[in-house]
């Protein structure tokens, strides 16, 4: 052991690195599984750390129906059962809370749609909420402020939305075949018991099960040195600018860019669903609203 040990350790180091690098080569071989041209709206700059010279972009994909007042939308109980969650106890049952608070997140595949129906439906709902609020809804902003906010969301919000989940990535790709609009990627989903408290009857009502995609895997995309120049310029300009274009907290749950996007990124996904940045281009002029 004394003589062989260092050699075995050395072989283990080389073998492990070789396995990882072969996996990377396999991922990037042939035609990409998906290739999309996204902008700063969907790929935000990662936080700058004082003692870290690395750079990454954060994929911002919204869960379209997550906060809809109408219910869980497509990620309902049927979908939860389909991906393996145990939904044996009816949501209105008195033991449901104990049963579902123990549900752990599950690894699966998610479909991200870029600039499609989910985005159009979301922005039209926002238009309705901001410009024609339902009677009885408290509105703190003036109409002009709300119009400005809508315009800001229309040009700054991410157009990437989670539209489906499943355990079979081939089946998902079959359903969402357009590789320039749909990304199939690893994700983590959680189950939630949704319900609202009725103060008049002192009981819970409208109990239902809903799923959320809590994490996209991976959601941070490393930027290699030869793709950094445009992003470094953006960062420097942001640092110098007194009123930098930034990301705005929206209700604590989502973020969107205030102002026009400053760069465009060609993002590819390989056979193992690992993404990489193919190209980064500066955007000189803001694209047309909604596009």
């Amino acid at each position: 052991m004394r003589r062989l040990g260092p050699l075995i350790a050395c072989a283990l180091l080389l073998l492990t690195n070789a396995v990882v690098l072969v996996g990377v080569a396999y991922n990037r071989r042939g035609e990409p599984e998906a290739r999309l041209v996204l902008t700063e709206r969907e790929l935000r700059l990662g936080y700058e750390e004082k003692e870290n010279t690395g750079l990454w972009l954060r994929l911002d994909a919204s869960d379209a129906d997550r906060w809809a007042a109408t219910g869980p939308g497509w990620f309902d109980q049927r979908k939860l059962e389909e991906i393996g969650f145990d939904c044996a106890v009816p949501p209105a049952d008195p033991t449901a809370e104990l049963f579902y608070e123990k549900a752990l997140p599950r690894r699966l595949y998610a479909v991200l749609e870029f600039d499609g129906e989910a985005w159009k439906s979301w922005i039209s709902r926002r238009e309705q909420e901001l410009l024609n609020p339902a009677p009885g809804t408290s509105v703190s902003q003036t109409l002009e402020q709300r119009q400005k906010q809508l315009e800001s969301e229309r040009t700054g919000h991410s157009r990437l939305f989670v539209v489906d989940v499943g355990l079979d990535r081939v089946a998902l790709r079959g359903r969402y075949a357009d590789r320039s609009r749909y990304i199939v990627t690893g994700a983590v989903a959680r189950l939630q018991l949704g319900r609202s408290w009725d103060e008049s009857t002192k009981t819970w009502k409208g109990a239902r099960l809903e799923g959320t995609v809590s994490e996209i895997l991976p959601s941070e995309i490393h930027v290699p040195l030869d793709r950094r120049s445009v992003l470094d310029e953006v960062r420097q300009a942001q640092f110098k600018n007194e009123n930098p274009i930034g990301w705005i907290d929206y209700g604590g749950y989502a973020t969107y860019l205030q102002g026009p996007p400053r760069y465009r990124v060609t993002l590819s996904y390989g056979r193992r669903l690992e993404p990489w940045i193919e190209d980064v281009q500066a955007l000189a002029t803001p694209p047309a609203p909604g596009g």
Partner: protein, 351 residues
């Protein structure tokens, strides 16, 4: 013979010499000068031989210094690992992908060569231990960086090569600090795998402390495999194995909602409180019976912690604080008397 065996022999010789001096002073035993000289020569020669082969401590002062050196080397190794990690992240953005990959691969290889060099130059292995842990830290950094650079989703599989690397270095050089690193990696892999078997995403394995029990059981059973040349490794396995049982029980006895058991939280907590007392009680008994000091000490510590957390739950809010601490103190004295009694019974049994 391992270094631990050599150290034990040296300790026995030192104790024998002290006792011989006492017996002579009390007039109980008086060896003839010739025999005394021959015995002293034999012991000196044995100590010299052991010291040369294993670099052991032959005096009490040396032994105390060794402990200080062990602590210093452990802290030094941790600080160096942090330094390597921060140094890399401070400058990695200035390199292209190929250079980044080459750097993170070269770092553990160089540290491995450094470990071998230090082990050849210094028999105490303090420096080899430091460089070995740095090699382990560099290997962890290597896989983390490759995962980041190529946007690979995190996987529990990384724990396996880390564990293998830790064990190889530990068994090659007899380094307990690397054994601990290997054990932690193995426990991480086993617990994460256990979590995925229950259907959850692997990074959530910590949300169910029961996931640590199988890993703990494996670690407790490893000492049953003969370790003739590595007898000083056995307590490390037992300590980490018991920690893998006691710590999850402590957490579950206070936060029942994170258990796998689908019964009301209060019942889960009661169950684990009882389990805590039962398991630590059995471990104390086994530790005394098998003369495993580390098992007895750790089990006693957790028995007291379980007891005190329970008392805190029951009495802290309504009892005057002086009375609360008086009761804790009295119970500690009671436990002391109980352990003393157990010790006497055990000594009688041994006689």
């Amino acid at each position: 013979m391992s270094q631990a065996d050599a150290q034990k022999r040296a300790d026995r010789i030192r104790a024998f010499r002290e006792e011989l001096r006492t017996l002579e002073a009390e007039g109980v035993l008086a060896l003839p000068d010739e025999q005394k000289l021959s015995l002293a020569r034999h012991h000196d020669e044995t100590l010299r031989r052991l010291s040369q082969a294993f670099d052991i401590d032959t005096t009490e002062a040396q032994k105390q210094m060794s402990w200080g050196m062990r602590i210093a080397s452990f802290l030094g190794a941790l600080a160096l690992c942090a330094s390597v990690y921060l140094f890399f992240y401070r400058f990695w953005g200035l390199f292209g992908t190929a250079a980044q990959v080459a750097l993170v691969l070269a770092a553990p290889l160089l540290a491995l060569i450094g470990t071998e060099f230090a082990a050849r130059k210094e028999r105490t292995l303090y420096i080899a231990g430091i460089v070995g842990l740095v090699a382990f830290g560099c290997f962890v950094l290597d896989l983390v960086v490759l995962g980041t650079v190529f946007n690979i989703a995190p996987s529990p599989s990384a724990f396996l090569p880390w564990a293998a690397f830790g064990f190889i270095l530990a068994y090659t050089y007899g380094l307990r600090i690397l054994l601990a690193a290997g054990i932690l990696s193995l426990a991480g892999w086993l617990s994460a795998t256990m979590g995925t078997w229950s259907g959850c995403y692997w990074l959530s394995f910590g949300e169910r402390p029961e996931n640590f029990f199988p890993a703990a059981l494996v670690l407790i059973l490893i000492p049953l495999v003969p370790h003739r040349a590595y007898r000083d490794f056995l307590p490390i396995y037992r300590i980490f194995g018991l920690l893998g049982v006691f710590l999850p029980i402590l957490v579950l006895a206070n936060w029942g909602e994170i258990s796998y058991l689908r019964v009301p939280n209060a019942r889960v907590e009661s169950l684990y409180q009882i389990a805590g007392f039962a398991v630590s009680g059995v471990a104390i008994w086994l530790g005394i019976r098998q003369r495993l000091r580390e098992v007895t000490n750790l089990a006693c510590t957790f028995f007291v912690i379980y007891l005190y957390t329970k008392f805190f739950d029951w009495w802290w809010d309504w009892m005057p604080k002086y009375l609360f601490f008086f009761i804790l103190g009295s119970i500690a004295v009671g436990l002391l008397l109980l352990l003393k009694r157990l010790r006497t019974v055990s000594l009688k049994g041994a006689a």
